[in-house]
Symmetry: C2
Subunit: 416 residues, 2 copies
């Protein structure tokens, strides 16, 4: 942070030119709309550490997610070496971008394309985190990694009611880029695709326009596109993160220690049908009051739900099929997952004239078999919300631990 400069807009642009020409160590920051005001410290999240950033990090406002497939076609040893080179390049690029610097390399006039595509020049990192995950397909024969596949990275089962689109599911590698500035997040997934040309192709991607979960008690719980505060009872403290989110010493694959498993589900919401539903029914579906976010058993948003409470007619106040009842840790042997969901819209569904919109559900956990899979088996069978949602995309990824300054993503996994 010592290299951060406080200067005028014009001054910064001049610095920008020097920096991107490859000479300066200066951080490209401070060019937001408040550039002429005294600068606050630019919001940055440390890239390095024992654990990857972007998991326990206070959830940023915007998401760019992309899954990639490797296209290398040599011997397992050759492929592994190419993957190693890719991950070294990606790690260096992600490290730079999270520090508000352009992708390393030349951005000069001449006979080579610029190293950085440039659309984020002058933007602050806005808490950018870039988090990588490895899909089950990475552990097939291509890279000779079959014996390093963690047991917890078991293929997800088929769930009731899902209607998955193979073109919006899976992938060898996944990148979750989160930032408070959507351009900065987009820039990250785009530049990684560019840097990987010849080695990877993007398989699918998703932009999340608004945060739909909170991972810090300092954050307001946002609303989903059904207008509800969902995810109020997310994991917010380090001890619970240790217990439920990050892989411990008991892992069968040491390279995953301090890593986490990401499950991504693209959940389309039937907005028009929901909007025709009565408020009473909507609240019964979630088990919460729409406006305050309080459980139907009263109090305020953060008050504990009383699952035993009954209405005067003897029916449970929080209905048996209420989303919140079914997902609650009290009713699942204490199981929790860390949710990092985002609202999305992809425009219209031409055939029906309905909005193509919903929740891009991202969750992190220590073992999907006993966490997401167990919860989703129950939800997919019984959740009252199922009348209004369909899971249309899915991905499962092993996210390795964080990296030290001179390490690269997956270094332990790819060691010979």
């Amino acid at each position: 942070m010592a290299e951060r400069l406080r200067t005028s807009r014009r001054g910064l642009l001049t610095l920008g030119t020097a920096a991107v020409a490859g000479t300066a160590a200066g951080t490209l920051t401070g060019c937001g709309s408040d550039a002429d005001q005294p600068a606050a410290a630019p919001a940055m999240v440390a890239f390095g550490g024992d654990r990857q950033a972007g998991i326990a990090t206070a959830q940023q406002d915007r998401l760019a997610f992309a899954a990639y497939d490797l296209t290398i076609d040599g011997t397992p040893a050759q492929n592994r070496e190419a993957l190693r080179e890719l991950l070294k390049t990606w790690t260096a690029a992600a490290r730079a971008m999270c520090a508000g610097k352009p992708v390393p390399g030349e951005n000069k006039l001449g006979t080579a394309p610029p190293a950085d595509t440039g659309e984020a020049f002058g933007s602050k990192p806005a808490n950018l985190t870039v988090t990588i995950g490895f899909g089950p397909s990475l552990f097939d024969k291509r890279f000779g990694l079959a014996d390093r596949r963690p047991a917890a990275l078991a293929d997800l089962p088929k769930f009731a009611g899902e209607n998955l689109d193979a073109q919006n599911s899976n992938g060898d590698l996944a990148i979750q880029a989160c930032s408070d500035d959507p351009m900065v997040a987009f820039h990250a997934v785009r530049n990684l695709a560019r840097l990987g040309r010849g080695t990877v192709v993007m398989r699918w991607s998703q932009l999340g326009f608004g945060r739909a979960a909170s991972t810090s008690t300092k954050q307001e719980t946002p609303r989903n596109l059904f207008g509800f505060k969902d995810g109020t009872r997310n994991i917010h403290d380090a001890k619970t993160m240790d217990r439920w989110v990050f892989v411990g010493s008991d892992t069968d694959q040491k390279w995953m220690r301090d890593g986490s498993y990401l499950v991504a589900r693209k959940i389309r919401m039937r907005i028009e049908a929901w909007d025709r539903d009565f408020l009473t029914d909507q609240q019964n579906v979630f088990g919460r009051h729409k406006y305050t976010g309080a459980p139907l058993t009263g109090g305020s948003e953060f008050d504990k739900p009383n699952f035993a409470a009954k209405n005067p007619d003897g029916s449970p106040t929080i209905p048996v099929g209420a989303h919140m009842r079914l997902a609650a840790r009290e009713n699942n042997g204490g199981v929790q997952i860390l949710r990092r969901a985002y609202n999305y819209t992809d425009g219209m569904i031409a055939a029906s004239g309905e909005l193509d919109a919903g929740l891009f559900f991202l969750c992190y956990q220590r073992d999907p078999r006993s966490q997401f899979v167990a919860l989703q088996r129950k939800l997919s069978a019984h959740d009252a919300l199922n009348e209004y949602i369909t899971h249309v995309g899915s991905g499962l990824y092993a996210c390795p631990p964080g990296v030290a300054d001179h390490e690269y993503w997956g270094q332990a996994l790819l060691a010979d």
Copy 2:
């Protein structure tokens, strides 16, 4: 603004409940992530006035755009009455939302759906503007409005190289919702669709994730997805707005006085091809330095380009096909348009593995025939940028003047 409340998060949520239950005049504000800090005045743009907000307004960071088709099928008099009712309802809803209030109506428990879908409860308006436009198709036989069609609302001609998708073009009505909060913008187009059920269906929509133009000298010029600052020389002052953006007393249709014409073009960018191009060539395509935004003839971003300057070999320093040379007012008889473009991405193109991304170009003007159409005829024929872009969607809309407190959009147009 007197009704704005400064209170704690919990307090606001309580207020929110009262307000949405239809009793309070209170404004639902202050629940952002800084809710526990002393509140600044919430950023709001006045809805009413001689001219619609969202045109000259300092450009907000996020866009939700939607075009709608009317589905009423009666006599012209019946249809006109139904359209009038729709526009009264829409105007009231837009007025409320821009003031940070929910859509007017009941949000109570009971046997009717809530009037407001709720996803923006607790969000600040974040400078929300909701701007309406009327497409050429509104002036067909259905509403008996053919003789009120302005001459300036002439169908756009076919331009060289365009490849328009009819499903992402045109529409009887268009709504441009801009806000610094994408949820608030999305909420506006969604709720208008909901309020119009039975009368309109959404035809197409587009989310713009980042501002790609500036309409105020207080704003930094943002970058497009090619990494360039384009639109530096936009209209920023009231006098030029009067001359080039808003309809004057010389209009053939008095109901358009103080209105403006919107041309929307969805411009797909061939990101991957661009990213393989050399910096020198990229700069020659735009006629500007990539990092500083300065014209190739030197200086800084806001310095005047010297179109007569030559390189030592006698070639023009700003090439003859440079986007900026072709679009410059000096080379177009002084013609200017007000640009309000946004960057967009719709994910991937499955067939090619390329990013489906680009510029959602919105521009406002007094007469498209002598402004956008004249400029685009030239650009579509000669612009060096054409190698990297394709226009894939298009819309033209007559945006009526603003409304006084008890007026509704299009009131003068729809008068008997």
